[in-house]
């Protein structure tokens, strides 16, 4: 039976990128539907009425939203190159840290990226604190999942690209090699890994996007 898999994504969405990585790592054939965030398609709104966001995975006509949930779904249907560990405790840890990444690390880094002055200082201190926890969690492993890329690496992979963007826009290293040697090493390993390295969105376009976001954020902050 042929499995029809479609992925609704945008060119820059880090969340959609997680799903791209998972699909490619598992060798799943899929069709890409590129969305324009400023002009969302009727299909996207139909398949994700609650959030109206990408990514949305369509499998044999049935939609699934929320990137981490999609990852678990893919792992359950396509068993090759498993993403999540089998051991219940390790699974729980992977889910815990992925949630931590989304709820704590990402917002603090995003704020540090778009703000300036005191606000940026506070966000950076928070981000460093969170990054230290990830550093400790690596515990000398090549990847968070061990010898091979797994669920948690994919869940935290956005850090690789955002770190590059951060360095270029803010002119200093967020994940510096001295303070975070293990995390820095992981960023390199992950970023250059087969499959992963071919999927990054165009760098210059991304820089432009973040510069614009930063401007918009600061204009909004100064006018309130």
């Amino acid at each position: 039976m042929s499995e029809v898999v479609k992925l609704f994504k945008t060119w820059s969405s880090a969340f959609a990128l997680r799903v791209v990585w998972a699909l490619q790592l598992k060798g799943i054939k899929y069709e890409c539907v590129l969305e324009d965030i400023s002009n969302k398609s009727d299909l996207l709104l139909q398949y994700n009425p609650v959030y109206k966001k990408v990514p949305v995975l369509l499998h044999n006509g049935r939609p699934i939203s929320e990137s981490l949930i999609i990852l678990e779904y893919l792992d359950e249907i396509w068993k090759q190159n498993p993403l999540l560990p089998q051991d219940p405790h390790e699974r729980a840890m992977a889910r815990f840290w992925a949630k931590f990444g989304d709820e704590k690390v990402m917002p603090s880094i995003w704020t540090a990226l778009v703000s300036e002055g005191k606000e940026q200082e506070v966000a950076l201190a928070e981000a460093s604190d969170h990054l230290q926890k990830l550093e400790d969690e690596l515990r000398g492993k090549k990847f968070f999942a061990g010898d091979n890329i797994g669920y948690l690496d994919i869940a935290l992979g956005w850090l690789t690209n955002l770190n590059r963007v951060f360095e270029e826009i803010c002119s200093f290293k967020l994940v510096d090699g001295e303070r975070f040697p293990l995390l820095s090493a992981w960023l390199e390993e992950f970023s250059d890994a087969p499959v992963i390295k071919d999927c990054w969105p165009p760098h210059d376009k991304l820089i432009h996007k973040y510069i614009a976001l930063r401007q918009a954020y600061q204009e909004k902050s100064s006018s309130t």
């Binding site: 499998h59 699934i64 939203s65 949930i69 678990e72 405790h89 889910r95």
Partner: protein, 232 residues
């Protein structure tokens, strides 16, 4: 079966998040020691077991801590697979849908619930209440599609999504009382209104879901201790 002393849960009786793993453990027939945190402080054990968030609930299984209520519930399901019914649905697509709505409850709906208590002034309060009602309307829809005429989101027995939403029923009833509104309104969300009664009557939930009276008294106590600053 778990050995005596092997399973401990750090928590507090009023917390809906703590109710989640308690219900799950009950569904699996797993005996556990309930280590209750005193209100207003955090024990050394809690701080050691959950250094990242310093929050309850924390499950300790053979001294290994697991944090985040829904992560814990899934862990319980996987660790005692042959005890009791499966908490997560058996079909992968149904699992994804259950996880989706559980995440919605935690990330969107619950914050709107806590928004009611924080709202200053009549207008803000009404807006907050409307938001909660809107969310319940979405969940009513989801209940219709997911339960397919059965008593629970999980079907014949309580499942993951029942636990994710059901834990808030006590607090919903307290809110209805203190705000003078009907949220689990039989006219607006008939499916959920009836489901709520069934959920609270279930053997795994009784004894975990506090009586509304007791929760209301507790609410008064904490409102007194953390009084919102007077509006400017």
């Amino acid at each position: 079966m778990a050995k005596v002393g092997e399973v401990k849960l750090i928590g507090a009786w009023p917390s809906p998040f703590v109710m989640r793993p308690r219900i799950a453990l009950n569904l699996k027939g797993v005996e556990y020691e309930f280590l209750e945190e005193k209100f207003g402080g955090k024990s050394d054990l809690l701080l050691r077991s959950n250094p990242v968030h310093k929050k309850i609930p924390v499950l300790l299984h053979a001294d290994r801590p697991i944090c985040e209520s829904l992560v814990i519930v899934q862990y319980i399901d996987k660790s005692w697979p042959s005890s009791g019914p499966s908490i997560l649905p058996s079909d992968p697509y149904d699992r994804a849908i259950a996880r989706f709505w559980a995440a919605y409850i935690d990330e969107k709906w619950f914050p709107s619930m806590s928004g009611i208590a924080r709202a200053q002034g009549e207008e803000a309060k009404k807006a907050a209440i409307d938001q909660v009602a809107e969310g319940l309307s979405l969940l009513e829809d989801a209940f219709g599609k997911i339960s397919k005429g059965k008593p629970f989101f999980g079907g014949d027995a309580i499942g993951f999504l029942d636990i994710a939403l059901g834990c808030f029923i006590g607090w919903l009833r307290v809110t209805e009382r203190t705000q003078g509104v009907k949220l689990l309104d039989e006219a607006k969300v008939p499916g959920l209104a009836k489901w709520a009664g069934r959920f609270c009557a279930d053997g795994a939930v009784k004894g975990v879901m506090p009586e509304t009276e007791k929760l209301a008294e507790f609410a008064k106590l904490i409102m007194g201790k953390f009084k919102a600053p007077p509006p400017q």
